[in-house]
């Protein structure tokens, strides 16, 4: 389904033309270093910096935050972010590095922060000058998110925070964190509050960021430890005790089920970034045509052909699901498709990369540090990384609970 296969409003059509024009004349060029598959895999500061420059130029051109209010640095448009996203995809631009800021922090700040805080933070968030991270997970609060132990204590006009966050992607680069924590130990859900916290300026002064190493060998996420960090009350979002409600705004956007469309660029092929595009079945077909498995071309194996087609059907269905989700006459429950997206998307990527193992046969043993690895070893890396997302943001087991309970109306499983 091509981008233009939609009928635009007049505002959208004009904006689309503008975007296309701007993107034609403002190509980000070749990166000076290897760009990873996504923002969550960023570990090289040089890669980050190059991507930040790109995000800022896109923001300055009005392609980021299009539907946000003007006073918060947005474009004040209606349903135009999706147009900008389509055009950036079409132009095969690099992705935006401030993914957590754009996808989770921005809508949460918009809907729940005080006016001053909002207008102070959002422009630098959109431009990518500030990188954001998310302080939700804790050693004892993974899928059971409400089990927060990090504690914020009110002292005078400020809050003093102590606790331990884990799996914090991008914390090693982040200026700001969205933080869910406990303010009342007596009430699991109503005892939570939500803050935005300037962490980079506080490193060594109540904040410690320690890198965690993934099973792939990459860094990219972190532990963040708070020891008597003092945070001003103006950085609290919504009421004390309303943290769970605010977190739901964050999570609904994370799951693609929020009110606002996340600014997202991408589509730059891995040809440009020195590796395979491991989220694309077309790239898998290319791999199959050039890989030998047990001495034969993998693309000729009827069983692997069937696996590839199965996954292509899932990809096409995912696209058509997004399209149908916008047609009220053809959906029974407004959240039925949006709440599926995280589950479907992450399992798609996992299964796609798993097929690549069988396609490569013996060569699937090879990794990024082997010059003979098909596709540079990126498929194996992608398979391992795929578990990050089937686990994170509510493991997929929890996503299935959510769908069964909220959409199908079944009783809670816990």
């Amino acid at each position: 389904m091509a981008d233009a296969d939609r009928k635009d409003t007049q505002e959208q059509a004009e904006f689309r033309a503008y975007c296309r024009d701007w993107l034609t004349n403002n190509k980000p060029g070749q990166p000076p270093v290897r760009i990873p598959l996504g923002a969550l895999e960023l570990s090289d500061p040089a890669a980050l910096q190059w991507l930040q420059v790109w995000q800022k130029s896109a923001f300055d051109a009005g392609l980021v935050g299009c539907d946000y209010p003007v006073e918060a640095g947005g474009g004040g448009r209606n349903n135009c972010q999706t147009i900008a996203n389509q055009e950036m995809q079409r132009a095969k631009t690099p992705f935006f590095p401030n993914i957590i800021g754009l996808g989770m922090a921005a809508p949460t700040v918009l809907f729940h922060a005080q006016e001053d805080t909002k207008n102070a933070l959002l422009p630098r968030l959109f431009s990518g000058e500030d990188i954001w991270c998310q302080g939700f997970s804790e050693p004892g609060a993974g899928s059971d998110l409400a089990n927060q132990q990090t504690f914020a204590e009110k002292r005078g006009d400020s809050w003093v925070i102590n606790g331990h966050k884990v799996w914090t992607s991008l914390a090693h680069f982040a200026n700001w964190m969205i933080l869910l924590c406990r303010t009342d130990k007596a009430d699991k859900y109503n005892g939570l509050s939500y803050f935005v916290v300037p962490i980079q300026t506080a490193i060594g002064k109540g904040v410690t960021v320690r890198p965690l190493i993934k099973l792939t060998g990459e860094t990219g996420f972190n532990e963040v430890i708070f020891e008597d960090l003092v945070v001003e009350d103006k950085y609290r979002l919504d009421a004390v005790g309303a943290g769970w409600k605010v977190a739901m705004t964050t999570l609904s956007h994370e799951r693609g089920a929020g009110q606002l469309v996340t600014p997202s660029a991408g589509g730059m092929t891995q040809d440009n970034t020195k590796g395979a595009n491991t989220s694309s079945p077309s790239a898998l077909i290319e791999l199959a045509k050039t890989s030998y498995r047990n001495g034969k071309t993998a693309a000729d194996d009827p069983l692997l052909r069937d696996e590839i087609i199965k996954i292509m059907i899932r990809q096409e269905a995912f696209r058509q699901n997004q399209r149908r989700a916008l047609v009220p006459a053809l959906i029974d429950h407004p959240m039925r498709i949006p709440l599926q997206n995280k589950l479907i998307g992450t399992e798609f990527n996992q299964d796609l990369a798993e097929i690549a193992y069988d396609i490569q046969g013996a060569a699937s043993s090879l990794y990024l540090n082997d010059e003979n690895a098909p596709g540079g070893g990126e498929w194996q890396l992608a398979y391992m990384n795929s578990f990050g997302v089937t686990i994170a943001a509510g493991a997929n087991e929890v996503q299935r609970n959510i769908l069964g309970e909220r959409v199908l109306g079944m009783p809670k499983s816990k």
């Binding site: 009928k7 069937d306 059907i313 096409e316 269905a317 047609v327 069964g404």
Partner: protein, 384 residues
């Protein structure tokens, strides 16, 4: 690049038609009533029956369902294919015993014939005459060029197999081979030389037969060499409509099973508490949504592209829709029986009606593996 409507072309008219179908089925075709109608005789060795309510068919035709997708030029309403899909989806949700799907499929084929004779038959369909296709050989091939019927000097000879709703149809469109290729021919179901041999099938909501033709005089609706082309052009619409029937039936199975799981208590908890029940039902839902999105996108692609500029994309979407829907149909049926437990294994539980319809649907016009193999050749290229 063809511009497609944002809403799949599913506008107010289509929504009204669909909502009236919903009301029609809820008024006239509850599962309870259906069971009394078609499941009266459970005997495994029963005589082969053909049970349907012609009165309801009369009402349907008056509501314009058979005319919906007949072009205006042939006396129909000329609605887009997505309208037929909505009707098929509702018919599937009610496991409706009728020649509706067969008549739709015949319509799609005739629309591709571009002949005056075909238009005459289309006009009869618009007027409410039920029809079916006799285009499958004994080996169950869905390829447009395969037929066991031949035509010589205007007379049909041979047998067509797996003809759907054969004893409900009043007219048949038959594919037949001559030296010049495969053509399509119209015959009345009661014409001389037409012998309908009913099949003993599992699905209680359909009938099926093999039909032998012995020196049957037929009207040519597509010339030799043009018949298989017309069939090929009609196949994506046929696949999408059957997928929609499966989507409707799948949704009935899902919702009915969810309801049972929410009320049936075991170990002091409703079954739906247990993830061993909940998660597979969520997977059924994911499968249904995929099938539904693909089916409507295929139909919309057909509707949006009368010149077939992007025909390969249309064909792809339709194969994907049928493949996905067939797998879904098997899975949704199996889980519905399993999670209904002991009661689901009985004749008195309505689940079996839908189970059997889905197992029939999944093979009709090709099962999932068949469509994926075609897609592999299209999208990956022929294997060495």
């Amino acid at each position: 690049m063809i511009e497609q409507p944002k809403n799949f072309g599913f506008g107010e008219d289509e929504t009204m038609l669909r909502d009236s179908a919903k009301k029609f089925f809820s008024d006239h075709c509850s599962a309870d009533k259906l069971h009394r109608q078609v499941a009266g005789n459970p005997d495994i060795h029963r005589n082969i029956e053909c049970i349907w309510d012609k009165g309801l068919w009369q009402q349907i035709t008056e509501l314009g369902w058979t005319a919906a997708c007949v072009p205006e030029a042939a006396g129909g309403i000329g609605m887009p294919l997505v309208a037929a899909l909505a009707l098929a989806e509702e018919a599937g949700r009610a496991a409706f015993p009728s020649p509706l799907i067969s008549t739709f499929n015949t319509t799609f084929v005739l629309r591709e014939c571009n002949s005056a004779a075909a238009n005459d038959v289309l006009a009869e369909i618009a007027g409410g005459k039920p029809m079916s296709l006799a285009i499958t050989n004994q080996q169950g091939s869905w390829e447009p060029t395969d037929t066991d019927v031949s035509i010589d000097k205007g007379q049909l000879n041979g047998t067509a197999w797996f003809v759907q709703d054969a004893r409900k149809a009043e007219g048949l469109v038959v594919s037949a081979r001559s030296a010049a290729g495969v053509g399509l021919y119209y015959v009345a179901a009661d014409a001389a030389g037409v012998a309908i041999a009913a099949d003993g099938i599992i699905d209680l909501t359909r009938d099926q037969a093999h039909i032998s033709f012995t020196g049957v005089t037929a009207v040519e609706v597509a010339a030799p060499g043009a018949g298989d082309v017309a069939l090929a052009y009609a196949l994506p619409a046929i696949q999408a409509v059957i997928a929609a029937d499966m989507v409707g039936a799948g949704e009935w199975l899902l919702q009915t099973t969810v309801e049972y799981a929410n009320t049936r208590v075991q170990f002091d908890r409703p079954l739906g508490f247990f993830q061993a029940v909940k998660h597979p039902l969520v997977n059924v839902m994911l499968d249904i949504d995929r099938a539904k999105s693909l089916a409507y996108s295929a139909a919309c692609a057909i509707d949006s592209d009368p010149e077939r500029q992007e025909w390969a994309n249309t064909v792809k979407l339709a194969h994907m829709a049928k493949a996905n829907a067939s797998d879904m149909a098997v899975f949704a049926s199996s889980r519905a029986v399993q999670f209904h437990g002991g009661i689901g294994f009985t004749w008195e539980c309505y689940v079996h009606l839908f189970f059997k319809r889905q197992m029939h649907n999944q093979m009709l016009f090709g099962d999932a593996r068949y469509h994926r193999a075609i897609l592999a050749d299209m999208l990956i290229g022929q294997a060495a």
